[in-house]
């Protein structure tokens, strides 16, 4: 949910649209129009037959206008009736108190009659700058917050919770979630062995969602997830695997590229861009991972054209037939049970977004559902 009418030149000049781009670049009148447009598009998704509509959380950035996905998910809970609502996800370590997440997710689950999918994330590196939360405690806080939330959802209260970061004398959640034992938990990630080890553990078996990565990287991490499950002594179900990717469908391959070019390149080269120090503050990743990113810096932090993105499988774009064929090929290789398509990205305007959603829903989705 980007601030799609951003002055891209201002974003480029600032070097990033995260953390430091002055919010004088945000016009509340434009924001009003955009919020209502995007919410309409999400509701339209249900009409078109999408199984899930998904929202996410990002802070103090033109990249995304949902610092609270709870607000958008709440609006959707009342305006949809069939589709699942996925919060992908709530950034647990950024909250001073994770019990608020347990409460808010439970409310949405009860209001929607059990249509919530709960996603948990740590928030990206930039958000440790904007929220001041110490990134070297990020993993600890995430795990402890997760434990508190799941216990609050599943155990009859009141009970006491004594952690290292969070302490409560009385945990006694009202409302309890609608779904039993609790809403499904998905773990969106850009790829990390630690996350996979944790999410795939037999105590959890959470759905792992690889987000915005080259298809080879997606395949590598989904395979790692399956292998890790096998190492734990069970076979992963396809439903435990997911891929989230921007998609654009039009009447022909060349037409699709022509229509999407400026909007995708704005997404990749302006909205996502940030310096290394912002992306990976100390402790957010292991120092080994940080060194690997530093080595790949030129490739990761340079501009990418739409053609390069399509080649990398970072973006799936073309005629309905091409898009179908690409996903069928990837599905045969990776067997992901969940595919999340971003039908809006960067500056893609409302008319093209709707047509993209319609063409995907009518000409691509049925074939993929049949797989």
């Amino acid at each position: 949910m980007p601030y799609a009418e951003l002055d891209l030149e201002a974003g480029r000049k600032n070097g990033t649209v995260w953390v430091t781009l002055p919010n004088s670049n945000f016009d509340p009148q434009v924001g009003h129009r955009l919020y209502n447009r995007f919410l309409d598009e999400l509701e339209y998704g249900e009409q078109l037959g999408f199984d899930v509509v998904a929202v996410n959380e990002h802070h103090q950035t033109a990249y995304g206008l949902m610092p609270s996905p709870i607000v958008t998910a709440s609006a959707l809970a009342r305006r949809t009736t069939k589709a699942k609502i996925a919060i992908l996800g709530s950034a647990l370590p950024l909250r001073s108190h994770p019990l608020t997440i347990a409460e808010e997710h439970a409310m949405i689950d009860v209001i929607s009659g059990g249509r919530l999918i709960s996603g948990f994330v740590r928030g990206i590196g930039a958000e440790y700058h904007t929220f001041g939360v110490n990134p070297t405690f990020s993993h600890d806080r995430f795990h402890e917050a997760h434990d508190l939330i799941v216990r609050a959802w599943t155990e009859i209260g009141p009970f006491a919770f004594h952690g290292h970061h969070y302490n409560l004398q009385y945990v006694n959640l009202w409302p309890r979630p609608y779904q039993k034992p609790h809403p499904p938990i998905w773990i969106p990630s850009q790829g990390s062995k630690e996350t996979i080890d944790w999410a795939s553990h037999p105590d959890r078996k959470y759905t792992y969602l690889q987000t915005f990565s080259p298809s080879k990287v997606v395949a590598r991490y989904l395979k790692m997830y399956r292998d890790t499950c096998a190492g734990y002594g069970y076979q992963a179900k396809d439903s435990q695997l997911g891929w989230s990717v921007p998609v654009y469908v039009s009447s022909s391959d060349s037409k699709a590229i022509e229509e999407a070019r400026a909007h995708f390149e704005a997404f990749r080269n302006v909205f996502i861009r940030m310096p290394l120090e912002m992306l990976l503050p100390p402790g957010y990743t292991s120092r080994e991972s940080l060194k690997n990113v530093m080595k790949a810096k030129a490739q990761m932090f340079g501009d990418v054209t739409i053609e390069q993105a399509i080649d990398l499988g970072l973006f799936v774009c073309g005629s309905a037939e091409t898009v179908r064929r690409v996903f069928e090929g990837h599905w045969r290789e990776m067997r992901f049970g969940n595919l999340l398509v971003s039908c809006q990205f960067g500056t893609l305007p409302a008319d093209l977004t709707r047509r993209n959603m319609e063409m995907f829903a009518r000409e691509v989705m049925p074939a993929l559902k049949a797989l």
């Binding site: 990134p135 405690f137 310096p275 912002m278 100390p282 402790g283 940080l290």
Partner: protein
Amino acid sequence: MAFSQSLIEVDGCKVNLRRGGSGQPLLFLHGASGAPAVLPFMEKLAERFDVLVPEHPGYGLSDEPEWLENIHDVAYFYLDFLRSLRLDKVTLVGSSMGGWMAMEMAVRDTSRIGSLVLVAPAGIRAPGVEPADIFLLPPEEVVRRLFFDPKLAAARLAEPMTPEGLDMSLKNRHTTARLAWEPRLYDPNLAKWLHRIDVPVKIIWGKEDRILPAAFADHYRKLFPKADIEIVPDCGHLPHVERAERFCDSVVRFACK
């Protein structure tokens, strides 16, 4: 003056200690970028003192103990360090983060501390003065801001980065974040206990400091009304490096009077 190097274990944590000279003990606590080598100011001080330069827990070649979670842990560690090495009447000198550690030690216990020299210390918030964001600035820019003389920064930036040097700098950066990310480079409870520091205090600040601006010194003047405050002209964040002669003379005059 030759410095020896050894690993000293205190509180289950091995720290890399460089030690040289003779006389009263002087413990130097380094700042965020560590103390990976013996520098000219250490040599010079070693002519008058028994100089001890440990690498803090979590820095350089020292261990990263599980218990290291905040600046108070470091303060208790170094109080145990003084006891363990039976050091008395110590001249405690701390630069930047090290100055913060020195204050956290001294509000707890000055029984082994003779005097305190704070060199552009972190640890205290001063209304209206903001430190540079050392976590968001590109690392090269942080180096440029350390010095008043751009030639010194250029020389440091020209030093080749070895794999070991990179590992060490990432380790130091990690520990600095752990101790100082939030609240950023200060402890909101420190200022209210500074009156417990009952030993002479000297504060040295580079006038052209672009990491912790010298305007902080005005605030310290209120917090330490009896302190001897020296502002060094044409000098950045590291007076002991950039103006080593003058720095050492000041320390000797202050601590040996």
